[in-house]
């Protein structure tokens, strides 16, 4: 092999001009490929890793109430945060994200802004701190001033936004917004810092400490806005980790177990039909006219379960329960509260009566209370084996989310149907987990479909930035494809060059081929000499092309662009083109070019190897 390498390498330098010309063509092709790939990868990196990752993490878990994205909260936040921490690899950062759309009023001017909460108190790696500093290049004030308590609601504002709103350091800026309950609110913020935005996306938001935004938006102690996860090498692992997290977030059956008692007739100002009470925080007093606290005599242990009210579930459950419903009821209604016969009898409950379930709350030491109005009594049936009430979706979640119940167990005597129970598919879960999607279009359709679910459960959606902005991936892919197509034309020319060069070389070296064959070199070795020559030529040319590409990118990066107000400005970083080389892309192009060159060399090399030695020795070229 060493002999073949020596001969190939030395032959390469024998025809300097020819090798140089062909090598230059390959080098230029390689340089174009690398520059174009770095540019498209730069766009992708800019949008994903510097903007989207910063704004919404590589992976996010989003929550909505009734499909309303303006109501992003989840009541049992720490539980999901803990699950997320377990789902992601070491080095990942799981944080809470809160954003609030608002109208900011500056000094004589107003503008729409997003109030973004920054988790300034959780631990961050050196890289995360470096990324943060790269995004917040402070012109005035300090990033750390967000944590100051002596300033009223300190905020960091981008320099162009501050200029537009005519804000200076220390100025107050009023904001109007809706909190997570849909109530209009106003607050006064103080400009604690002004930073130079690294890209156009950093201009729109104003940044506050996470605790401040939570307070303004009305989040409770156990509520959470969204979960943002940043992780090492997201391109390789984000989708897989999101799928894993999704698998871990399948919701369990929702049930409240406590003591049920009959409420005094006429108590509580309930509207017509079946009404559910709102759970009540520990320590608060019962509403006027309610029966007193659950330990009183006559209270019975009972489990409250919710049933789904989408058309398909409702008709399925109707068919299932029809034999056990009162004769007057044709089918189940979306507003029904069904109590089982034994429980109704033991409490003397009849249709139209109100009852109260007092249950242990998860987050407080006190109780939650569900105020329910019975609409039907279920006859004895094999599906309900304990004291149970089936409550429609709306009324069920109304008390469930108001005071999250402590998870009941069968040991306590709770009726918790397993998956073998015919009722099971129709019962409410603790939340609705949305299916995973792969593209922005699928994601959009998924959110469009939420109202059709007819559910009041909080929706939980796990998504990666690659599907929330899959068009960026497509853009990168399309740019690479266009570049590749253009360069393939160039490589067709190179192929012709390689073939012609080799044909000339073989013609010139025919006697030499005859000699080495006569001495005893096998055909395969002769073939290898020519293929190695082409391989080395392509290899050196690619290396030169790579160097050329990096020099080219450095020079292009030096050119300043003034794109203020132009959407194409999003492709710039600090007014300059942004390139990010992709090592795997470069390796792939290198492999492609080498494969094309060597593949092209195969046929002429084989022809050289197949030359009859005697004929080759007779050749005079």
């Amino acid at each position: 092999m060493r002999l073949l390498l020596i001969i190939s390498l030395r032959n390469l330098f024998r025809q300097k001009r020819r090798s140089a010309l062909l090598g230059a063509a390959i080098a230029i092709g390689m340089a174009i490929l690398v520059i174009a790939n770095s540019f498209s990868h730069g766009i992708s990196d800019l949008l994903f890793n510097r903007i989207l990752a910063f704004v919404s993490g590589h992976v996010s878990v989003a929550f909505t109430q009734n499909g309303n994205a303006m109501r992003p909260y989840f009541r049992d936040g720490e539980r999901l945060m803990e699950t997320a921490r377990r789902a992601f690899p070491e080095g990942s950062r799981v944080t809470e994200g809160v954003g609030l759309f608002s109208r900011a009023i500056g000094n004589g001017r107003s503008d729409n802004v997003i109030l973004v909460g920054m988790d300034t108190r959780s631990k961050a790696t050196k890289k995360q701190v470096a990324d943060l500093k790269a995004n917040f290049r402070m012109v005035q004030g300090r990033y750390e001033d967000l944590q100051r308590d002596d300033i009223e609601n300190p905020v960091l504002v981008a320099s162009d936004k501050a200029e537009y709103l005519k804000l200076r350091l220390g100025d107050a800026v009023k904001v109007r917004f809706q909190d997570i309950y849909g109530r209009s609110q106003a607050a006064s913020l103080t400009v604690a810092g002004i930073f130079h935005p690294a890209n156009v996306f950093m201009s729109a938001p104003v940044f506050l400490d996470l605790r401040v935004v939570r307070r303004l938006a009305g989040y409770g102690q156990h509520d959470i806005g969204q979960i943002y996860v940043t992780m090492p090498d997201p391109k390789a692992h984000a989708v897989e980790a999101a799928d894993r997290l999704h698998g871990m977030l399948h919701p369990p059956l929702a049930a409240a177990f406590g003591r049920l008692e009959k409420a005094a007739r006429g108590a509580g100002a309930q509207s017509a039909g079946v009404q559910a009470a709102v759970g009540r925080r520990a320590g608060t007093q019962p509403a006027a006219g309610e029966a007193s606290v659950g330990q009183r005599a006559g209270a019975q242990p009972a489990t409250v379960l919710g049933f789904r009210v989408d058309s398909s579930s409702l008709s399925g459950l109707s068919r299932l329960l029809k034999p056990y419903l009162p004769a007057a009821m044709d089918s189940l209604r979306r507003t029904d509260v069904l109590i089982d016969h034994a429980l109704a009898d033991s409490l003397g409950l009849h249709v139209g009566d109100r009852c109260l379930l007092r249950y242990r709350a998860k987050h407080d030491t006190g109780e939650g209370v569900a105020d329910l109005k019975v609409t039907a009594v279920l006859a004895d049936n094999p599906m309900v084996s304990g004291h149970a009430i089936l409550v429609n979706d709306k009324d069920f979640y109304a008390f469930y989310y108001a005071e999250w119940p402590l998870a009941p167990t069968r040991e306590q005597g709770a009726f918790l149907p397993d998956s073998g129970n015919a009722l099971y598919p129709f019962l409410c879960r603790e939340w609705n987990l949305l299916p995973r999607t792969r593209t922005t279009e699928e994601l959009r359709r998924k959110y469009q479909d939420i109202p059709g679910m007819k559910s009041h459960a909080t929706t939980v959606d796990v998504q990666t930035m690659y599907e929330s902005a899959s068009m960026v991936v497509k853009l990168e892919y399309a740019l690479n494809l266009i570049t590749l197509a253009a360069v393939l034309i160039l490589f067709f020319i190179i192929q012709v060059g390689v073939i012609n060069t080799l044909r000339m070389t073989i013609r010139e070296r025919t006697r030499e081929i005859g000699t080495i064959r006569a001495i005893g070199m096998q055909k395969s070795s002769v073939r290898s000499i020519f293929m190695l020559e082409t391989f080395f030529l392509a290899w050196f040319a690619c290396c030169a092309g790579l160097a050329l590409a990096f020099v080219g990118m450095a020079l292009l990066h030096l050119i300043p662009f003034h794109m203020e107000g132009n959407p194409l400005g999003m492709l710039l970083v600090d007014g300059h083109l942004y390139f990010k080389s992709n090592p795997w892309g470069i390796i792939a192009y290198l492999a492609l070019i080498l494969a094309i060159a060597v593949g092209t060399a195969w046929f002429p090399s084989r022809r050289a190897a197949d030359l009859p030695a005697a004929e080759a020795l007779r050749h005079y070229g």
Binding site: I516, R517, Q522
Partner: protein, 225 residues
């Protein structure tokens, strides 16, 4: 004992639309260790005969044996191996590999054989270059050598594997008479020392004195021994 046995050898090859009958039925036996000159005018079939014996051309008909191996029964790989291990070649135009130095050219067949280690290969090559009087030109490439020096390198290359037979096709045709004489002297000396069979073609009657056996060939037939 004969190292070469040829019976009824014919070789035809096409030349445009006609067929050239280069060899028309040759019978020839050459003893091991002989120094044979194949004499004949241009176009008589000398080179074709050497090519067929050297397995770089195929016979149209007849039998050619090198030792006990019948060449017509071998495939390309076996024939190539036979050339590498049992034959050495010296060409009229030297045919050295231009990108290799004198030493590397001599080492070339041994490197292809892969039987000896690098040190032994280098030692043998340098020894042979010394024997042909080129110790000062070990690092020179062919383009830096004279015709005589190149042919000496070619002789060293042909002998380095200790072949059974060395085939030399008009080895002195491109050399002046003094250099040609020195080359033939070296071949004669090597023949005497190594007992290698030498078979060289020539049309120069002055070189006959170096041969022990002379085979005359004319119009593709043996014309006398």
């Amino acid at each position: 004992m004969n190292i070469i046995e040829i019976r009824g050898l014919t070789k035809d090859y096409p030349l445009g639309k006609t067929i050239v009958h280069a060899l028309r039925g040759i019978d020839l036996s050459i003893a091991k260790g002989d120094l044979v000159s194949v004499m004949g005018p241009s176009g008589s079939g000398k080179t074709t005969l050497l090519n067929v014996i050297g397995c770089i051309d195929l016979a149209t008909a007849g039998s050619v044996k090198i030792g006990d191996r019948e060449l017509t029964a071998l495939d390309d790989k076996q024939v190539t191996d036979l050339r590498l291990h049992r034959l050495g070649f010296i060409f009229q135009t030297f045919n050295l590999i231009p990108v290799l130095t004198s030493t590397e050219n001599v080492e070339f067949p041994l490197l292809l054989q892969k039987r000896l280690d690098r040190k032994e290969i280098r030692r043998r090559a340098e020894k042979l270059l010394d024997d042909v009087g080129l110790s000062e030109y070990r690092r020179n490439r062919p383009s830096e050598l004279s015709g005589g020096q190149r042919q000496r390198v070619a002789i060293a290359r042909a002998l380095v594997t200790h072949p059974d037979i060395v085939l030399a096709d008009e080895p002195t045709a491109n050399l002046d008479s003094a250099t040609g004489a020195s080359i033939l002297e070296i071949m004669k000396e090597m023949n005497a020392r190594e007992q290698t069979t030498f078979l060289f073609s020539t049309h120069d009657k002055n070189v006959l004195k170096y041969a022990r056996t002379v085979v005359n060939i004319k119009d593709g037939l043996i014309d006398g021994n």
